[in-house]
Amino acid sequence: MSQASAQPARRAAAREAGRPPRLAVEGIVKKFSGTRVLDDVSFEILPGEVHALLGHNGSGKSTLIKCLANYYIPDGGRITVDGEGLSFAGPGDSARLGLRFVHQDLGLVDSCSVLDSMFLGRSFPTRFGVISWSTARESARLSLSRVGLQHLDLDSPIEELTPSQKTGVAIARALNTDASTEDAAAVLVLDEPTATLPAAEVENLLLIVDQVAAAGTAVLYVTHRLDEVFQVADRLTVLRDGVNVATRRVDEMTKDELIVTMVGYSIEKAERTDAVRERLPELLRVEGVRAGAVRDATFTVHEGEILGLAGLTGSGREEALGLIFGAHRRERGKVLLRGVELPAGDPASSIGHGVAYLPAERKTHGSILTLTAADNCSVTDVRRFFKRGFLRRSLEEEEVAAWFQRLQVKPLGAQGLAFGALSGGNQQKVLFAKWLRCKPSVLLFDEPTQGVDVGAQRELHELMREVAADGTGAVVSSSDLAELEAICDRVLVFRNGEVVAELTGDQIQEHEIAQWCLGRDVRAPEHVSHISDELTKDAS
């Protein structure tokens, strides 16, 4: 991903020197049962500034945002918007002052039209008590133009939009909650807007964020993805254990410095086995598999190797692992594990053959939120604990607890908690434990560290390397190219449903993979809008 970006420069015009900050956070303290979750946190955001808020899970980011939203009342300190203090009288107050929030869960209804979505939660303009559709359209169009989406078809349902367009609609709606005021909102808080977006879509979203800031709105941008920070933000604030450890200009920092600041110690990339190892025997053979966006997937996976799959949205990369696993039927082709053909459309049988599949969508496909963490972990092979007519709970709990300890799942005793109550990183660890327990021959990991903080990501990467070192074959499909660079022995690039490149050794580098994803002829992009043009062209 490009770190050079013209965006902050373009926005500079919107920021006049010496203008008062739009949002000022001064000495905020928040305690929970005596523990200081936020300890004297201060920073401010100028008009037209994109300010990134960074920090590990547990650093206090969420608490700070909830203070801004008036969901929590701070134990000390002040929050002012355009000089006016938040009274902490209820959520309405923060909205009245012009604070707007867009959460990762956008709160859009898939089947509603764009037009209806814009007016969800507030009233349609009326004329003589009847909805005035022409006024509504005009107003929606105006709101959408603030995020550069004025060309959207107002009648198309939300589900037909791309992920970044959906986020754009949610932002446009948040910015203009009251149709009568045409002023832009003072402060927009984006809470991990890109956590579930594919890489190509991220670029489009960043353009939207840029445009919002250019209109003079102060943007607080919360993210785990560090590359975005360098692309879109002017300044950043890093929280660690509830303390503001840095508020700095982005162009004064490198990514490595930023990581050190966030975690408090230096993290090195998981060690790469660059020396070409002796190739171990072939494990998995994928022959001419076709279905959906995948037109022809043919490749092999060897014992002890981590094979990466890269590709833009729509390239077939996102569907490949599910097809290999046999989550759905294949139109054509076959998958052989040590020469034995894996059936399609029968996950139970694939698992029986020794294949593990971690789907990309943790909440909808990967986990059962209503069950406990332990039950999620043991669901695949709970039969093993059925002895003499009874499920032996104590055996099960013992084994799960050992795995949780090995993977350092937090908090202690997480086994008994509802899966949904764990943080993203810990949920992912539980799902890793679930599959590793089964001692599979092949691991298929789809976006293995999506929405996971830096520390947990590092741990999961190490774990994958460990498992591969034991002779297991792993296939990792990821939109995070840095992740592929960090852990893969070999990377296959998908384009238009086919494998177009195989990268090994020194070729496995972010920019190299990115070029192959876009098409080999595209040079390293200088400019974000340029890259995003290419991306949209490629995706369509």
């Binding site: 939660g121 139970a348 496909h365 990183g425």
Partner: protein
């Protein structure tokens, strides 16, 4: 977790037992002569046993995430069919019972086929099959109420006494024990709850969800059939009673989710719900014998208890969110609703 909170959680989970005890005390004080008698105990136990069996039949499909609305029609059909086989066709009691259960299992299998293979939503599928079963019942009976067989063995199937209780109460408890074992102590039970929690995730984890859903609908049909057979033996078949049991059975199953294992369909919670309700109704009837009491009490209790349980669950989630922030700094999925609510 503080002691205070643990205590209130206990009250939560066992609220049905507390209410049940309170009802017994209140009516015991108001009507000591008629309420606090073994006759009352035995009649409430026996009267509710059929509904309890039916409600237990619903626990497995509901926990799997599917509805079986045809269970009411199934009860009626089984009652009529098992009687006809004996009185009109001269079959022996056991062969009549076996054949009836078999036919009901077939109805369950058809439900399963429609839901799993034809992919019709279970609510619609079983609503439709319910109507088909009622039509079949009419064809079989020609709207004539069948005459119960004069056989003494047929009546003693349910009317034998066991420590003063009708044996049907024992059947109900035995079925409860069996289902409890299945749901809590077998892999099948774990798969049932996993499928009910997230069907696609369960499938991708290797649970054969289609087979499970099919089996759960066969199970409910068979249990419904047993309830119908016992009803016919106990009070003689009726052409219409089956569907009148549907609502109380569903009510009990849903009320059961507020007890013992909040948020989960479970066996003993369902049984507690049924008997706590029945005790209340019985007490009220002894004080003021009105026919509408039954339905009114059932309806109010269902809505009230489920609403209350929902509110408590939300409060518990709220606690957990704050706790998650303390322990872990948030970022948990339980958080997602919070901000979504504020920007709307």
């Amino acid at each position: 977790m503080t002691d205070k909170r643990r205590l209130s959680l206990g009250l939560d989970r066992y609220s049905g037992l507390w209410i049940w005890a309170a009802l017994i005390v209140v009516f015991g004080v108001l009507r000591p002569d008629t309420f606090l008698t073994s006759t009352t105990l035995h009649s409430v136990a026996a009267q509710q046993a059929i509904v309890a069996i039916l409600a237990l039949g619903l626990v497995i499909p509901l926990a799997t995430g599917v509805f079986d609305l045809s269970i009411g029609a199934n009860v009626g059909f089984a009652a009529v069919f098992v009687t006809l086989l004996q009185s009109d066709h001269g079959l022996g009691m056991w062969s009549a019972i076996a054949l009836t259960v078999l036919v009901s299992a077939l109805i369950g299998a058809i439900n399963g086929f429609v839901v799993v293979v034809l992919k019709v939503d279970s609510f619609i599928a079983t609503l439709g099959s319910s109507s088909i079963v009622i039509a079949t019942q009419t064809i079989v009976t020609k709207l004539q109420q069948p005459v119960p067989p004069p056989d003494a063995g047929w009546r003693s199937l349910t009317q034998t006494e066991f420590f003063g209780f009708q044996i049907i109460v024992v059947y109900m408890l035995a079925l409860g024990l069996l289902l409890w074992w299945v749901l809590e102590y077998t892999p099948f039970g774990r798969y049932v709850y996993a499928t009910g929690g997230n069907r696609e995730a369960a499938r991708l984890s290797g649970v054969r969800v289609d087979k499970l859903i099919f089996l759960s609908l066969v199970t409910s049909a068979v249990i419904g059939s047993i309830a119908g057979i016992l009803y016919a033996s106990r009070t003689a078949p009726s052409l219409t009673f089956g569907n009148t049991l549907l609502l109380p059975a569903f009510a009990a199953a849903f009320l059961g989710t507020t007890q013992l294992k909040p948020g989960k369909f479970n066996v003993w919670g369902t049984i507690i719900a049924i008997y706590a309700l029945a005790t209340g109704i019985k007490g009220l009837q002894l004080i003021n014998n009105q026919r509408w009491l039954d339905d009114m009490f059932n309806g109010v209790a269902l809505i009230g208890a489920v609403a209350l349980a929902g509110a408590r669950l939300r409060a518990a989630q709220h606690q957990r969110r704050i706790k998650a922030v303390e322990v872990d700094g948030g970022g948990s999925d339980a958080d997602t609703g919070v901000l979504a609510g504020t920007h709307r």
